[in-house]
């Protein structure tokens, strides 16, 4: 385990070291202490290493992550794991707005709550939230799954494309073109696998599924009110 203390190292120096690692490196376990809410921690990683951040992270932590595992032992600021391509990002506390924004792949787990716009424009990432999500979550989500074990705020899945949304608790309101869909055994099995990957124990059968009604894909004058 390599420890980097941000009390005496800059974020740029930390990210530089992580970026220079070669695929065959033996330096695969990293421990970052004293993050104190610094931005852009462990961004742009491209090889399967593990980085544990001991404390609260600022904005865009683990952005653009590829193959690496990044664990935040605290809360995360805005845009955690934005544009994640693969690998896993796990926040033990809460996440601020736009968690997993535009994520293409991989897994983002937020064990606490995520605030507004969680999974905005997600393009294939799987996001599992142990608590609740704020308003406008999964806005224009294109692919992937958003699992919410608590409640979802207003306008869930507004202008949604093909992402799948699973919510265990209440939904304050659905956004334009987002509708409840049938939870089939196929979806229950998929959700069970996702919850298992996220390490969250709850009964997949208690979730409701939401998805796109596919009425906004092309402009149709009869649907003008829904835009």
């Amino acid at each position: 385990m390599i420890t980097v203390d941000l009390a005496d190292t800059s974020v740029r120096a930390l990210n530089d070291r992580l970026h220079k690692l070669q695929p065959e490196t033996n330096e695969r376990a990293w421990h970052v202490i004293n993050p104190k809410g610094a931005h852009a921690l462990a961004c742009g990683l491209t090889i399967p290493i593990e980085v544990i951040i001991e404390g609260h992270a600022g904005y865009y932590c683990a952005g653009m992550n590829k193959e690496a595992t990044v664990i935040v032992n605290g809360h995360a600021g805005q845009g955690v794991a934005e544009n994640i391509m693969s690998g896993e990002v796990r926040v033990k506390g809460n996440a601020s707005q736009a968690a997993g924004a535009s994520g293409h792949g991989g897994l983002l787990v937020i064990e606490g709550d995520a605030s507004a716009r969680c999974g905005i424009s997600m393009k294939g990432v799987d996001i599992v939230v142990g608590g609740s999500v704020g308003h406008m979550s999964a806005f224009m989500a294109q692919a992937g799954s958003l699992v919410v074990c608590g409640d979802a705020g207003a306008s869930l899945g507004d202008s949604l494309y093909e992402a799948r949304l699973y919510v265990q608790g209440s939904v304050e309101s659905l956004g334009a073109d987002c509708v409840e869909k049938k939870m089939t055994p196929h979806h229950i099995a998929k959700l069970e696998r996702l919850l298992a990957r996220a390490g969250i124990k709850t009964d997949a059968r208690r979730f409701r599924r939401y998805g796109s009604a596919r009425r906004l894909y092309n402009f149709h004058v009869d649907h003008a009110d829904a835009y």
Binding site: G37, H75, G77, Q97, S115, G134, H135
Partner: protein, 299 residues
């Protein structure tokens, strides 16, 4: 973009260290606002029926003492002047309205940054670190303080456009965001007898809340009313004589983090500014919800 911070001490034992903590919090928001910085601090109450004004003049060698002498003579009241940078704290053994009216009439080039029994307001151009050093924020004791770091996007970098804004005795407001209906609101407030000193939308918000409280609303009720009357983006932090409040608009695109322990409540645009507070590791830390009024008051 702007950074805002606020620290409200619940435990009076911490009051000697207020300035030290708010200084670190304000400097922590330098990236969000390197152009100018401001701070309102609540401390050193004047005696009953007295007031203190924080006044500003662009000339750092302004003839404050002479003004103090004239003011004392005009009001037949004791006046004490303390000069700090291009600010002066003027303590007057008379109500604030007379002192303010006299200054406005006889020294229109002097701007009153804040007034009341407790609150002092310092705002100036430059990096937050330079501003806090210039005004000796480090050594300030007190019960609560609110600060702002500004990155100007649409109006000039001047002391006048810096926050906090004040609109009533011992009341101040800092704002991150922009209001879209400030012209109409300004008109409405003018109609109700409020004078404006700048074209700044945040001043409109400060005067709006002052107006509501003047009508008898509590701090929480005034903010609640603001949710329907103020249109735009905002995270507000407000201070009153014995109160502290935070409000975000319903869309909540301007950031805010709250942290609370048994000893203090702190607000900042980003966690970075809270990271060095004593006992922050044990604090409850959360993001204030959209359109929810948060208030605290001194016991």
């Amino acid at each position: 973009m702007c950074g805002i911070v606020g620290l409200f001490l619940k435990n009076p034992d911490l009051r000697p260290s207020l300035g030290r903590h708010i200084k670190v919090m304000l400097i922590g928001m330098t990236d969000r606002g390197p152009d100018s910085a401001g701070i309102a601090v609540y401390h050193q109450p004047v005696e009953r029926n007295s007031c203190k004004l924080t006044a500003f003049h662009a000339d750092p060698h302004h003839h404050w003492r002479e003004i103090g002498g004239q003011l004392a003579e005009a009001l037949a009241a004791e006046v004490d002047v303390e000069v700090k940078g291009n600010h002066a704290v003027i303590k007057v053994a008379a109500p604030d309205s007379g002192a303010r009216a006299w200054l406005k009439k006889n020294h229109p080039d002097v701007r009153i940054m804040g007034y009341g029994e407790l609150m002092e307001v310092y705002k100036d151009m430059g990096l937050p670190a330079d501003v806090v050093a210039r005004y000796g924020v480090d050594a300030m004791e007190g019960s609560h303080a609110i600060g702002h770091t500004r990155m100007a996007t649409e109006s000039a970098v001047t002391t006048e456009h810096s926050h906090p804004f004040t609109a009533a005795p011992d009341m101040c407001l800092v704002h991150n965001g922009s209001l879209s209906n400030h012209n109409n609101l300004r008109k409405w407030l003018r109609h109700h007898g409020h004078d404006f000193e700048t074209d700044n939308d945040s001043e409109v918000a400060a005067r709006y809340f002052a107006h509501r409280m003047g009508e008898g609303a509590t701090l929480a009720e005034a903010l609640e009313a603001g949710l329907s009357d103020l249109d735009g983006f905002y995270t507000f932090t407000m201070g009153t004589r014995d109160g502290f409040a935070v409000l975000r608009d319903g869309i909540a695109c301007k950031p805010a983090v709250l942290a609370e322990t048994d000893d203090w409540v702190a607000m900042a645009s980003e966690f970075r500014s809270l990271a060095n507070l004593p006992g922050v590791d044990q604090a409850a830390i959360w993001e204030p919800k959209p359109a929810v009024v948060y208030t605290w008051s001194l016991q």
